[in-house]
């Protein structure tokens, strides 16, 4: 009969006590496995989110963490917006000209040209010359100044050229943030976010639609007011296709905008923060009340400011009336460029160019460029990993407590087992043999409990998989071995790599724990006074 069998028999003999001890260890290991799985899910989720499909975010000057949290995760609050015309600097000529065409500056420029041409045709050379020279200064047409303070003055609106960084970018997507739908962020953007952005580069995946379609720039039935909702938003807010939604201004409990957007698409769960956002057409976003940047028009010489209270009230009423007309119009005109701002610009550029582009933007004092993947990994390393390791440490301590229960269980049994040990010694078992039997018992209890815990932990993960997958996009299978660790680095070697699943380290850890906790009763067995314990 082997020592293993003797130890096993001893465990079975104390069935209930052994089962309770193993259960205690199983619970500890189950928690460790669950925490490790969460560890893996978080890591995978971070990795998924780090694969953004773009490599630069441009936003207003501020902290790079804040820009990243705000833009990638829709957390935190944006500090400031940047000029729409600055966004146009990242576009090539054709697209830039098309967007800037809807500006006071370009329209005034065109009007000046028309006036000059008419005057030339009328034969008024002097005035024509003056008008022509005014028109020829087209590039110098001024943007009407904004009443609010800005970190930098808006760039002049010039057309007929590439954006300053237009030839360095492959994909440019603007984002406008600030509104909410329930607790979820509303993001004003362009259809390119879903049409062109490959968010999972490794698997060449774009965002997919579970129902409906992407919003379009302008549709015959909904104009500029179409929306797409993320999977989580659709589930939690019970949003259906065709439903009209009204974003709340500025905060979840802000006043609801009068303008409604029609939901035309519901995204499939992607495991990205986009599951938890509502996307509206940026053109519609600008047309909601309070979203237009106010203009302070320089009064014309013949347009004297209101002198009396009645004149002032009349002017305000006229302005409000005009705004309401725009607001209530079924299909209003897009907002002029001068009244537009964006919160952030997502830019995909060649990785070699991206570094230079980041430096160029940061040197311009107009905005700040951030490499989000770098920031995400910094956030992960500095904030998420310590929390994960703390959790792991806590569950490890639970295992140690479970280990102590093994000690208590075996030690309590020692008084009644002294006779058995003495018999074994009388039959020729050495002190080291009885010590080994007790350590084997401890190890079997520890590993047995560990196996049950491992099984329960993985079954728990499988049971929770639908919930996890729906919220993170990460699938947790029964044999999910994430995360892995480099054993050589754990052993203090700086070179080489031997990556094994962290869970596998549970086996030596449990054996070590069993030996440590089993040592005390084992030594008691070792020191058993055979003659005294034998009786007769």
């Amino acid at each position: 009969m082997s020592l293993f069998r003797i130890a096993l028999r001893s465990i079975l003999q104390r069935g209930v006590a052994s089962m309770l001890t193993m259960l205690s260890m199983a619970l500890g290991v189950m928690l460790v496995v669950a925490v490790l799985s969460i560890h893996g899910v978080v890591e995978q989720s971070f990795a998924n989110n780090a694969s953004l499909g773009y490599n630069i975010i441009v936003g207003a000057k501020g902290g790079e963490q804040q820009i990243t949290l705000n833009t990638v995760y829709y957390l935190s609050q944006p500090v400031e917006n940047i000029w729409y015309s600055y966004y146009a600097e990242f576009l090539p000529q054709e697209e830039r000209d098309r967007l800037l065409a809807n500006s006071f500056a370009v329209k005034s420029h065109e009007a000046a040209w028309q006036t000059a041409e008419l005057q030339v045709l009328a034969g008024d050379g002097g005035l024509a010359g003056a008008a022509l020279s005014l028109a020829l200064e087209g590039a110098g047409l001024q943007l009407a100044p904004d009443a609010r303070p800005k970190p930098e003055a808006a760039p002049k609106i010039e057309i007929g050229r590439n954006g300053k960084y237009g030839l360095m970018t492959e994909l440019v997507i603007p984002l406008c943030l600030g509104d909410y739908y329930g607790q979820f962020r509303v993001v004003g953007t362009t259809p390119a976010l879903f049409d062109d952005l490959v968010y999972d580069v490794e698997r060449n995946r774009k965002f997919e639609f579970a129902q409906g379609r992407n919003f379009v720039h302008h549709s015959p039935e909904h104009g500029y007011f179409e929306a797409v909702v993320g999977a989580t938003v659709a589930r939690e807010m019970q949003v259906k296709l065709g439903q009209e939604i009204s974003p709340a201004h500025g905060a979840p409990d802000g006043h609801a905008h009068e303008r409604k957007f029609t939901v035309v698409g519901i995204l499939k769960a992607s495991g990205t923060p986009n599951d938890r956002a509502v996307f509206v057409n940026m053109e519609g976003f600008y047309l909601m009340e309070d979203h237009a940047t106010p203009l302070t028009e320089e009064p014309a010489a013949e347009d004297a400011p209101p002198q009396t209270e009645e004149e002032l009230k009349a002017a305000q009423t006229a302005r409000l009336k005009k705004e309401l007309e725009v607001l209530r119009a079924a299909d209003p005109d897009p907002l002029p460029v001068e009244q537009r701002e964006v919160t952030a610009i997502l830019i995909k550029a060649d990785p070699m160019i991206a570094i230079g582009l980041e430096g160029a933007v940061n040197g311009s004092h107009m905005a700040q460029a951030v490499l989000p993947v770098k920031v995400i990994y910094e956030l992960f390393e500095f904030f998420v990993k310590p929390v994960q390791w703390t959790l792991l440490l806590l569950t490890g301590m639970i295992c140690v407590v479970s280990g102590i229960s093994i000690l208590v269980s075996i030690y309590n049994s020692m008084s009644e087992r002294r006779g058995e040990i003495a018999v074994m010694r009388a039959l020729g078992a050495g002190r080291w043999t009885v010590l080994s039997i007790i350590l084997l018992e401890s190890t079997l209890l520890s590993l047995g409990g560990g196996f049950i815990g491992w099984l329960a932990g993985h079954l728990l993960c499988v049971a929770a998989n639908p919930y996890i997958e729906a919220r993170t996009g990460v699938t947790v299978g029964f044999l999910n071995w994430e995360p892995a660790v480099n054993v050589l680095s754990l052993l203090g070697r700086s070179s080489g790599s031997l990556s094994v699943p962290l869970e596998l380290l549970l086996v030596p850890a449990l054996v070590l724990l069993a030996i440590v906790v089993g040592l005390w009763p084992a030594v008691a067995a070792y020191r058993t006074d055979v003659a005294r314990s034998l009786g007769k």
Partner: protein, 225 residues
């Protein structure tokens, strides 16, 4: 086969004084010989058996089993000699409750290296008339059956010497003789020397060699264990 020379053993009392238990100038048992050891309670019979088995170390003197001097061996060495050459039958049987009858017999072989022999264990159980009870645990066996399993276990390693410490003390008179016969017959069959301690005159009367501990132990009037 067994030779004790100048064995002295004492225990420390709570007041610090030494209480002498054994003082045996010489005691020998030949191969296959059967000896019954009698003596009043507390005369040191069990201490003598423990000393022969190496469970208790003598303060001085020599214990030689099959030519091997125990006092020259380490504790581990004594354990090996005990496992290989000595069988022990206790008054209280001392079967391990979690093990079946067969496993209890096999346990006797476990600690002697290279001697695991399930066929012999079954043969011994058959010899003691318990082949049909081999899978029963001690709690399911009668007192007499338990002691028979203990005898089989003691003989499992083909020992040269069997020490039986009042093996019939807890057994009803009807089974006493069966156990004595079984022990003596199996020892005879296997040419095993036997030292049996007993208080029962009807048992001691069956032996050719009867040793009174008071005669071989020079601790006169000792309050031995």
């Amino acid at each position: 086969m067994l030779l004790l020379s100048n064995i002295k053993k004492s225990f420390r009392e709570p007041d610090g004084n030494r209480l002498p238990i054994l003082d045996i100038p010489t005691f020998a048992v030949a191969r296959g010989e059967q000896v019954v050891l009698i003596g009043r309670s507390g005369s040191g019979k069990t201490t003598l058996l423990h000393t022969i088995a190496g469970i208790t170390r003598a303060d001085s003197g020599q214990v030689a089993i099959d030519g091997i001097e125990l006092s020259t061996l380490s504790e581990a060495g004594v354990d090996k000699v005990r496992a290989a050459k000595i069988g022990y039958v206790f008054q209280t049987f001392n079967l391990l409750p979690g093990f079946t009858a067969l496993e209890n017999v096999l346990l006797g072989m476990t600690f002697a290296r290279g001697r695991k022999d399930p066929a012999r264990a079954r043969h011994l159980l058959d010899r003691v008339g318990l082949s049909h009870r081999s899978t029963h645990k001690p709690a399911a066996l009668s007192v007499g059956e338990q002691q028979r399993v203990a005898v089989a276990r003691a003989l499992a390693n083909r020992p040269r010497l069997l020490l039986a410490d009042e093996p019939t003390a807890n057994i009803d008179p009807r089974n006493q003789q069966k156990i004595v016969d079984l022990v003596r017959e199996t020892c005879r069959e296997e040419n095993v020397a036997l030292i049996m301690v007993t208080h029962a005159p009807e048992v001691s009367g069956q032996f050719d060699r009867i040793e009174r501990l008071e005669e071989i132990n020079q601790v006169i009037g000792g309050d031995a264990a």
